[in-house]
């Protein structure tokens, strides 16, 4: 057997995959053979490292050197320099933006310093397509010990004491959920994994399935044993081809090793997992809608009760948990509830994975202990706002959440604090916005998403959100009135109180939270007919300063609607009625004579 001295880990998450990481891996493999190093160097494709901003990522071990933005052409130099000559390739190392120093070890990068990876523990560490690497990392140990102890209620107690809460958004205690399902006797029950990640910008579930699929399989089997289910189903969106591919490989390998199937570990417990594909409807993340979609019905929610724990898939007791929730379960069982409950805040234990996106320097996937502040996440891990701009707001919880302003930057992040601040945890999307974002437009963006994704079953959501979207449209076009703002507030309250499912009940949140925190901006749109951020096109006015205009005619020639008039070498003028506010003149002017009002 080869006695490897070096491991080259190449990120194979969707982001890096799209930037040719498969080609990089292939090149490494080829070069290693050419240089006759195949017995010294192991080339491994892994899941996501999280630092998507600088992908593709290549990590060298044992010295833990972290190379960023590697191209297939760099492979030769890395092998030649790093492995053969033992010198780091400086130009590919991470450059710390503050100190301008190259950091070779990822642990010393601001992005990783504050992170604690529990759910993502194996992402970027093991080969997700190789069950043996998972087993070497204590994989299936939790399942084995749970089966050996043969005390399902005891295992549920462990989860309850650990304080694990659902990571899909609502934060329902996982142990309690399992217990409720366990209590309902039936000939068949189902353990369901919700992998219908729908929040715009969130991709932690996909990354876990791509980087560590076995942890989800193991946790589902543990859950199946606890609630008394012999069947597991993963509801995954068909838009996640790589996650599906890796999950399929993992399920096949688990069956081959006897870790799924009949009489697991020689006990009476049998469990197997099947996949169900979703077509990517946001509402199917709601558990009753998800169950209907799996049954082949329309993906529409139904009123609870009956809860799925009583009447779920095919009318049998079913339990639905999110991918990230499952990823925590094996670790809790291996390390004990005392360890897990020592991390986090009083009511939110453990860690949470966030997908950092928007106007932030380090876009990527991070996992931090509950109770970390937004400031730490945005400025220390995220590296601050792009292009030195000013922070304006951070949107958490996707279309069900809200926007938080500067005054919440030092609030410790947990389920309850986010709700108290007018947003929610959601699945963990975190979109950072700078001063150039118009909050009315942001609210409109989320509302339009809801209008498109509403299943249409209940009228508050179907009609109410449509009306709200129309009012917002009116405001961004400069036709809003103060009465419209009142109407928005009223509609929002009615929808919140009367919609059937979670999607509808939370859909007005983006509007309400932006109205709470940015009321002045709404008023500016309505009363002054101005967009303070300069985003709303209809409220923009391009004006030529006659002092600065040289009459070069560059703008007039570029204007697609012929709205600019003037004689050569004389100041020009814009006909505001004809202007379509495309901004072409603004870009063309070499004398800074055109300004936006």
């Amino acid at each position: 057997m080869a006695n490897y001295k070096y491991h080259i880990l190449i990120c194979g998450g969707t982001g890096c995959h799209a930037s040719q990481s498969a080609q990089i891996k292939e090149n490494f493999e080829k070069i290693i053979v050419e240089k006759n190093l195949q017995n010294d160097v192991q080339v491994v494709g892994t899941g996501c490292f999280g630092f998507c901003e600088k992908g593709p990522i290549v990590k060298m071990l044992p010295d833990n050197t972290f190379y960023t933005q590697v191209t297939p052409e760099d492979c030769n130099e890395i092998v030649q320099e790093h492995i053969i000559k033992g010198r780091k390739v400086q130009r590919l190392l991470y450059l710390d933006p503050k100190s301008q120093e190259h950091k070779s070890d990822s642990k010393h990068m601001g992005f990783y310093k504050k992170q604690l990876r529990i759910a993502l523990r194996n992402c970027g560490f093991i080969d997700p397509e190789n069950i043996e690497e998972y087993i070497a990392r204590d994989g299936y140990k939790a399942l084995a010990s749970v089966l050996e102890q043969n005390d399902p209620q005891g295992t549920i107690e462990v989860l309850k004491k650990a304080g694990l809460r659902g990571r899909g958004g609502a934060g329902f205690p996982t142990g309690l959920k399992w217990e409720l399902c366990r209590k309902n006797a039936a000939d068949q029950k189902y353990m369901i994994c919700n992998a219908d990640e729908g929040d715009p910008g969130a991709f932690m579930d996909r990354s876990i399935l791509e980087g560590d699929p076995h942890t989800v399989i193991e946790a589902m089997a543990i859950g199946g044993f606890c609630i008394g289910a012999s069947k597991g189903l993963v509801y995954i969106r068909a838009e996640y081809p790589l996650a599906i591919h890796r999950l399929r490989i993992a399920i096949d390998q688990a069956r081959e090793y006897g870790l799924l199937g009949n009489n697991i570990f020689g006990t009476d417990f049998s469990f197997d997992i099947e996949l169900r594909y979703g077509a990517g409807a946001f509402v199917c993340g709601e558990e009753t809608a998800l169950i209907h979609s799996m049954e082949g019905q329309r993906g529409e929610p139904t009123f609870k009760p009956p809860f799925p724990a009583v009447e779920g898939y095919l009318k049998k007791p079913s339990n639905v948990n999110n991918v990230e929730t499952f990823a925590n379960v094996p670790v809790i069982i291996n390390k004990g509830w005392e360890w897990f409950s020592s991390i986090g805040t009083e009511k939110s234990k453990g860690t949470k994975v966030f997908a950092l996106a928007g106007q932030i320097n380090n876009v990527g996937l991070i996992e931090v202990p509950m109770g970390t502040t937004l400031r730490e996440v945005i400025y220390e891990i995220g590296g601050g706002i792009k292009n030195g701009k000013k922070f304006k707001a951070v949107q958490t919880g996707g279309p069900s959440g809200g926007c938080l302003t500067e005054k919440f930057l030092d609030t410790p992040i947990d389920y309850d604090n986010l709700i108290a601040a007018g947003s929610m945890m959601g699945s963990g999307g975190m979109i950072v916005m700078d001063e150039t974002s118009c909050m009315v437009s942001v609210a409109k963006f989320y509302l339009d998403f809801i209008v498109e994704e509403s299943c249409g079953k209940c009228s508050p959501c179907r009609i109410g959100n449509k009306r709200m979207s129309e009012i917002l449209d009116k405001i961004t076009k400069g036709n809003g009135t103060m009465e419209d703002l009142e109407r928005l507030k009223n509609l929002a309250k009615v929808i919140k109180d009367t919609a059937l499912c979670g999607l509808g009940q939370t859909s007005p949140n983006p509007v309400l939270s932006t109205m709470d925190n940015f009321w002045d901006e709404y008023v500016a749109h309505v009363v002054d007919k101005k967009c303070p951020a300069g985003q709303c096109r209809a409220l923009k006015q391009y004006v030529i300063d006659p002092e600065k205009c040289k009459g070069c005619t560059a703008c007039a020639r570029a204007c697609p609607v012929g709205a600019i008039h003037g004689t050569v070498k004389q100041p020009h003028e814009i006909n505001q009625e004809a202007c379509i506010k495309c901004g072409t003149c603004y870009e063309k002017c070499k004398f800074n004579a055109i300004s936006i009002k």
Partner: protein, 131 residues
């Protein structure tokens, strides 16, 4: 594939597989490891540095020592090849010259595992410009 039928099976399998990932786990904690660098330029390889590196890795593995072994380029002591640099956490690196596989075993046993210096130390005669 033989199915895993019991907790004991799983444990045996895990123990057998764990060594494959040891290298990666060490990398997670490289600052607290003893770092050994073997000079593997042409002169080093010609004098047997490959066998030396092999020996050090094997010896450290059998003794289960927390050691990260990497290769490096020419250290400039071509007269004393093969040369090996050992850096213990929080200490200055020490360079040993004329290391044969037999000497390598001694190095692991006495200096790396214990803290006893062996013959062949090359005194530091340069300053690093490391940042």
């Amino acid at each position: 594939m033989e199915k895993i039928k019991s907790l004991a099976d799983l444990k045996a399998k895990r123990e057998q597989l764990q060594s494959n990932l040891k290298l990666r786990e060490m990398g997670d904690n490289v600052d607290n490891m003893i770092q050994v660098k073997v000079a593997m330029a042409t002169c080093g390889i010609a004098s047997g540095a490959k066998q030396v590196m092999e020996t050090i890795i094997n010896e450290c593995n059998t003794r289960k020592l927390p050691v990260v072994v990497t290769q490096t380029g020419c250290m400039g002591y071509c007269y004393a090849e093969p040369t090996v640099e050992v850096k213990k956490p929080g200490q200055e690196p020490v360079v040993f010259g004329h290391i044969t596989p037999a000497k390598a075993t001694e190095l692991v046993e006495k200096y790396i595992a214990g803290n006893e210096l062996i013959e062949g130390i090359i005194p530091v005669n340069y300053e690093k410009i490391d940042k």
